[in-house]
């Protein structure tokens, strides 16, 4: 099992400008709530799943992915079990197990929306360099003080995770046992784990402040950026394509072609 994280790649989605991708993530998330046709929703969900597996063939081994799928299916099952509105579709003779059009439709809509949003987010995370995203956000107006909160978090998070692992190991080699039955002792051990982690984090933050301010951070209300990337022609083309695709889905959803 491994974590979901950005992975370098040469796909079209990778080469899109981060803000454009972010805008489409937000738009797509809103759209799945506008679409009420469960079959269109599931078509979209399956397309997203296909893109996702194309981007990362071992997505099944990403921590949390299987749980997401199970949760989506569980939502479907729960709605089928508890929503008995609409016409009866299947009747195995036990009321609990009957499937109605209302329950199935609502279940498909809710689970489809849930999975579509999660898959879109996965695609965004897999193909967007968080560092580039932070810089892009700063370039479109996010105050750089906040932008660098994001950048430094991205930098420090894996370091802190590694430090946590080291502290746990250091406890282990000094006879600390986490398989304690005694709650009081367990709390003490957790405190003894958190204290060095906290101190180490504060020390690191202190040094980072000196390092950043020691290079003029905060000197001026604005700053320049070396990277001058802008949305490219490809971003426009893809965006136009997506507008057409989503418009078609909406037209079908609202029954224009029926």
């Amino acid at each position: 099992m491994h974590k979901l994280a950005f992975q370098q790649g040469q796909t079209i989605i990778h080469s899109l400008y981060p803000i454009v991708k972010f805008a489409w993530l937000v738009f797509g998330s809103i759209l799945v709530f506008v679409i009420r046709n469960e079959y269109i929703l599931w078509l979209l969900t399956l397309i997203l799943l296909w893109i996702l597996t194309s981007l990362k063939s071992d997505i099944w081994h990403v921590r949390g992915f299987r749980l997401t799928l199970v949760t989506g299916l569980l939502l479907l099952v729960l709605y089928i079990i508890f929503d008995k509105t609409g016409t009866l579709l299947i009747d195995p003779g036990i009321n609990f197990l009957t499937i109605t059009s209302g329950g199935l439709g609502l279940g498909l809509r809710v689970s489809g929306r849930f999975l579509a949003i999660v898959f879109m987010s996965y695609i965004f995370i897999l193909t967007t360099d968080p560092n580039q995203l932070a810089y892009s956000l700063m370039k479109i107006g996010l105050p750089y003080l906040y932008g660098f909160m994001l950048v430094t978090t991205l930098r420090l998070a894996p370091i802190l995770e590694e430090e946590g692992k080291t502290i746990y190991r250091a406890q282990l080699v000094r006879g600390v046992r986490y398989d304690q039955q005694n709650l009081k002792k367990l709390f003490l051990i957790i405190q003894q784990f958190l204290t060095p982690l906290l101190i180490s984090s504060l020390r690191r933050a202190d040094k980072l402040v000196f390092s950043m301010e020691g290079r003029g951070f905060g000197k001026y209300p604005t700053r320049t950026f070396r990277n001058q990337d802008r949305p490219s022609a490809l971003d426009w083309k893809i965006s136009i394509g997506l507008v057409i695709f989503f418009s078609l889905l909406l037209l079908i959803n609202f029954g224009v072609f029926s």
Binding site: L172, G175, F193, F225
Partner: protein, 499 residues
């Protein structure tokens, strides 16, 4: 006018009653290459931070005297203004980085100063050329070696065109090759830029070729030192060979650890390749090799932190794969690199007895032994203090006592001597040697060839995950000399090699 002018400067840290440095007077000319030496905790870094203006950011900093750079008083400047004149490279480049790639890191200060993108790119190319780091321009910082990271750290400050560059032990985490390379880089920077370079460093012998002016901080005050005087300290290496030899031949030694064909891969990268070695009782073994050669991974694997992909590891006659780490802690002591990661309690005394208490072996004899150790390492006056109030060197000493008290039969130590002055380092190595002589085994990751030559029985030298040399100390260094690992040799052999 001198570039750096310090007059009657004293500084006391918040919460302390005594000044860490006092009545410092110093004048450094532009273009000088000054080296600050002194024992661990003597106040070298404090003076460096004062010069960079870092110490004057508190609401009421407790100082007296004056510090000026190029005629400008540094005590009243916010850091971002002080940074126009002075650049400060921290000990660990990891602490300094705030972005994710080399290019972004070097650009960071330039962007803050609102330089145009074209000018930023031009300066990045300029400083990377100076530090010979053109190939790492767009690399992710996490993929760089220790030496490359230090180059980026230096380049990121050099790009700001400071008058003075201060470096606080920039090579403490680096192997001898990378250290030599960084020193040469600094020398070139100074030559090309006419920059004033102030370096806080213990590795003086490697700096002498660059014509430094040496200042020593001792008991909070500063004095000029001649390089010859500093280097005239007793060189124990010449007396060490017989010592190492006589201690090395131990009969009745039992096998403590046996590794055979051990290979380890982490994140699809092979770190250790076909490692075979034995450790016996009474041995004090140095594990040496360049940064990234797999030394720490080897120690971690012995301790059971990584799964063994191929080969075998037998420890105290038990198969490592079938043995839990928790069941070995009575017999193995482990000291990690960072002292802060292994201090868990509220007082020095609690920390000392922590492991023994956890293992249920804190006897009266151990308590007596603890007092004895603390006294030997100069910590007996600090037993009530919180461990985090200790200096870096004191914390390392505490780590050592805390790992030794339950008397593990095998002691694994990852870089104990980082940032330590030579005098302290000798005391520690003597202590470890003595511990091994009492029938225990010590495996120490160490870059210090002179100390290894003096105290260790045997050297295991790793490079690219493989054992290059595994021989008694004297033969090992001879073999390393033959193989061309000259930067890893003790001073005596290096001099002979040069001659």
């Amino acid at each position: 006018m001198a570039m750096v002018e310090i007059q009657q400067f004293s500084y006391t840290y918040p919460g302390e009653s005594e000044p860490v440095i006092h009545d410092i007077n110093l004048s450094i000319e532009a273009g000088s290459f000054a080296v600050l030496i002194g024992k661990s905790g003597s106040g070298k870094s404090t003076l460096g931070k004062a010069l960079a203006g870092f110490l004057f950011q508190d609401e009421k900093p407790n100082y007296s005297g004056k510090i000026s750079i190029h005629g400008v008083d540094m005590t009243g400047l916010p850091i971002y203004q002080a940074s126009d004149r002075v650049a400060y490279v921290q000990q660990n480049p990891e602490d300094q980085f705030c972005t994710l790639t080399s290019g972004d890191e070097i650009a960071f200060g330039l962007e803050n100063n609102c330089l145009e993108p074209a000018e930023i790119d031009s300066r990045i190319d300029e400083v990377l050329a100076i530090v010979k780091g053109e190939s790492i321009k767009e690399r992710e910082l996490s993929t760089l070696s220790g030496g490359e990271k230090q180059k980026v750290a230096i380049a990121s400050l050099l790009a700001l065109h400071p008058d003075v560059l201060i470096l606080d032990e920039p090579t403490s985490n680096l192997d001898p090759f990378a250290t030599q390379h960084i020193f040469e880089t600094l020398h070139q920077i100074r030559e090309k830029r006419d920059l004033t370079v102030i370096i806080i460093e213990h590795k003086l012998s490697q700096l002498l070729n660059f014509d430094p002016i040496i200042y020593e901080i001792s008991d909070g005050t500063i004095k000029d030192r001649e390089p010859e005087d500093v280097m005239r300290q007793p060189n124990p290496s010449s007396a060490s060979r017989d010592n190492a030899k006589s201690e090395n031949s131990q009969e009745n030694a039992e096998k403590v650890l046996q590794l055979s064909g051990l290979s380890i891969s982490l994140n699809d990268t092979q770190i250790l390749d076909n490692i075979s070695l034995n450790l016996s009782t009474g041995e004090f073994v140095a594990l040496m090799g360049p940064n990234g050669s797999g030394k720490s991974t080897l120690l971690e694997t012995i301790m059971g932190f990584h799964p063994i992909q191929s080969g075998s590891c037998t420890i105290f006659n038990q198969n490592r794969i079938r043995t839990k780490t928790s069941s070995l802690v009575n017999d193995i002591g482990y000291i990690f690199q960072n002292p802060d990661h292994q201090l868990f309690t509220q007082s020095v005394w609690d920390e000392t007895t922590f492991t023994s208490k956890n293992l249920g072996c804190l006897t009266k004899q151990k308590i007596k032994q603890a007092r004895n150790w603390l006294d030997k390492l100069g910590l007996s006056e600090r037993v009530e203090d919180h461990p985090q109030r200790l200096s870096y060197g004191e914390k390392r000493r505490l780590n050592l006592v805390a790992a030794l008290l339950h008397e593990p039969r095998l002691l694994l130590i990852d870089e104990l001597l980082i940032g330590q002055d030579l005098e302290n380092a000798h005391i520690w190595m003597f202590l470890l040697k003595d511990y091994a002589k009492r029938g225990n085994t010590v495996l120490l990751v160490n870059h210090h060839a002179d100390l290894t030559q003096t105290y260790c029985d045997r050297v295991i030298y790793l490079d690219h995950g493989s054992i290059i040399v595994d021989l008694p100390t004297i033969e090992a260094f001879d073999a390393l000399a033959r193989l061309g690992y000259t930067a890893s040799l003790p001073t005596s052999l290096m001099e002979a090699d040069n001659a």
